[in-house]
């Protein structure tokens, strides 16, 4: 079963249109949504959760259509963009509140995560740093055994050590084949570490959705002069960046002449080069 199936999803605003988007997150997988600020990552998550109304298309979550979403919210763990924690509450009160909301609330797990994150139990959230609040949200999202995690910039505001800790927790969470994650971020190194699939969202449109490993097999980096670049076969070049030292091009390996000097390319550079190409078009 797919954890998420999005078909032709569209939402129009005055000065921005998201979609139409087609996106599938297979069950048991992690999909990283990469995009610049304002690309539509948060809007997409809000549409999935029906915080916003769509103008077209369909969204199926854990095999259920939109009308049945309320029935499966118990299986979702969400870390929203603005944390939303009642600032006068502390961890103990948060636990009592969420225990009254989630049927499968696991108090023991919640407090073990609080301890692992080194969060004070009696300090009100208003005295927490931004990173601490973010950790609290992550602990809350993980403590009712959700089948699908929807995370909007979960590591934003965290220091490298805390980011590493969160990544480890998410890696641990995804060991079970029943659990899936949609995670949006512009910290691409985090996504590179965690994701099975990557989706590039740029100015409201999906540039690509692909398995990360396959993407790295199919695409490569070509370094050369402008003349060498012009000589490449049509359809080989996916994106180019002009630098003082020459051209950096994202190319399809299968379209390149034999023996061409190629190097492997990271997800971050792929995104940068693809969006450059998008701008050229």
């Amino acid at each position: 079963m797919n954890a998420l199936e999005i078909r032709g999803l569209t939402r129009k605003f005055k000065d921005f249109t998201l979609g139409p988007l087609d996106l599938t997150l297979p069950g048991g997988c992690v999909l990283g949504l990469i995009g610049e600020n304002g690309a539509g990552k948060t809007t997409l998550l809000r549409l999935i959760l029906q915080m916003l109304k769509k103008d077209g298309g369909s969204v199926r979550v854990l095999g259920r259509d939109e009308k049945e979403l309320d029935g499966i919210r118990e299986d979702l763990g969400v870390v929203p963009d603005a944390t939303g924690l009642p600032l006068s509450f502390n961890a103990l009160e948060m636990d009592r509140m969420l225990a009254g909301i989630h049927k499968a609330w696991d108090e023991e797990k919640f407090f073990s995560l609080i301890k692992a994150f080194d969060l004070p139990e009696k300090k009100p959230f208003k005295d927490y740093s931004r990173g601490m609040r973010q950790k609290m949200c992550i602990a809350a999202a993980l403590s009712h055994d959700p089948k699908l995690l929807l995370l909007d910039e979960p590591t934003g505001g965290l220091d490298p050590l805390a980011r590493d800790q969160v990544m480890e927790m998410l890696e641990d969470y995804t060991r079970s084949e029943e659990r899936s994650v949609l995670i949006s971020s512009h910290i691409v190194s985090d996504l590179e570490r965690l994701c099975d699939y990557v989706a590039f969202l740029h100015k409201g449109r999906l540039l690509l959705v692909e398995e990360k490993d396959r993407l790295q097999e199919e695409l490569a980096l070509f370094l050369g002069t402008a003349e060498e670049l012009d000589a490449l076969p049509k359809g080989a070049v996916q994106g180019v960046k002009h630098t003082p030292y020459g051209e950096r091009a994202l190319v399809r390996r299968d379209r390149m002449p034999e023996g061409a000097a190629l190097s492997s390319v990271g997800v971050e550079e792929m995104f940068l080069l693809l969006t450059k190409e998008g701008e050229k078009r």
């Binding site: 809000r46 959760l49 029906q50 915080m51 916003l52 109304k53 309320d70 919210r73 118990e74 979702l76 969400v78 929203p80 963009d81 603005a82 944390t83 939303g84 924690l85 009642p86 600032l87 006068s88 509450f89 009160e93 009592r96 509140m97 969420l98 225990a99 009254g100 909301i101 989630h102 049927k103 929807l150």
Partner: protein, 203 residues
């Protein structure tokens, strides 16, 4: 739902302490002062304002979106607010009645509990009844204007029945005894309207 009620009760208690303290001052004035009922009625208005304050507070830290991601329906979010408001209103009416009894036994003030409640109930309910549907639909920022309108209306009503402040025995009892029932009916209507409007709001 239980968790939402817990959150609202606690949040109200933690953040409205100044309001509660002010109400205690008014209650004391109600017991020992000359215009006893006026001060007691004023506590009802103050209590009626707290759901609106909670709504603003919630929105200031992004609670609506956080709640929209939890396994609760929007109807439950709205209902929790209305139920907790009733809880604090009933608590306040109880304390006011106690103040009236104390005032009667200490100062020999006239004991007019029925007449007092016939004004206190609709008065307490009027601000949340009018403001919550608009706040649930448009949010606290845009709802501020409504706040001002509500307060003006409530003050107008209090002014219109100004004589009441001096002596409740002047109030036409038969007509006023219907007021709590009408207030409760309108409160229930406002509750349903808020649910309907909040379901249509984008978060």
């Amino acid at each position: 739902m239980k968790g939402l009620i817990y959150k609202d009760v606690l949040l109200c208690f933690k953040n409205m302490r100044a309001l509660f303290l002010l109400n205690i001052v008014y209650l004391v004035c109600g017991v020992f002062g000359e215009a006893a009922q006026f001060f007691l009625l004023f506590t009802c208005v103050m209590i009626g304002v707290q759901p609106m304050s909670l709504q603003s507070l919630d929105e200031s830290y992004g609670w609506p979106r956080f709640a929209a991601a939890l396994p609760v329906t929007r109807a439950q979010v709205v209902s929790a607010r209305y139920l907790v408001s009733i809880f604090y209103m009933v608590l306040n009416w109880g304390v006011c009645v106690l103040a009236l009894l104390i005032g009667h036994s200490i100062n020999g003030l006239p004991l007019q509990i029925g007449a007092f409640l016939s004004l206190a109930v609709p008065l307490s309910m009027s601000v949340p009844m009018l403001s919550l549907p608009i706040l649930f639909r448009f949010g606290a920022q845009r709802g501020r204007l409504i706040y001002i309108v509500c307060i003006s209306l409530v003050c107008g009503v209090m002014g219109a029945v100004g004589g009441v402040a001096g002596n409740l025995s002047n109030v036409p009892h038969i007509g006023l005894y219907w007021a709590p029932l009408i207030g409760a009916a309108l409160y229930a209507l406002s509750w349903q309207l808020s649910i309907w409007l909040y379901k249509r709001r984008e978060l």
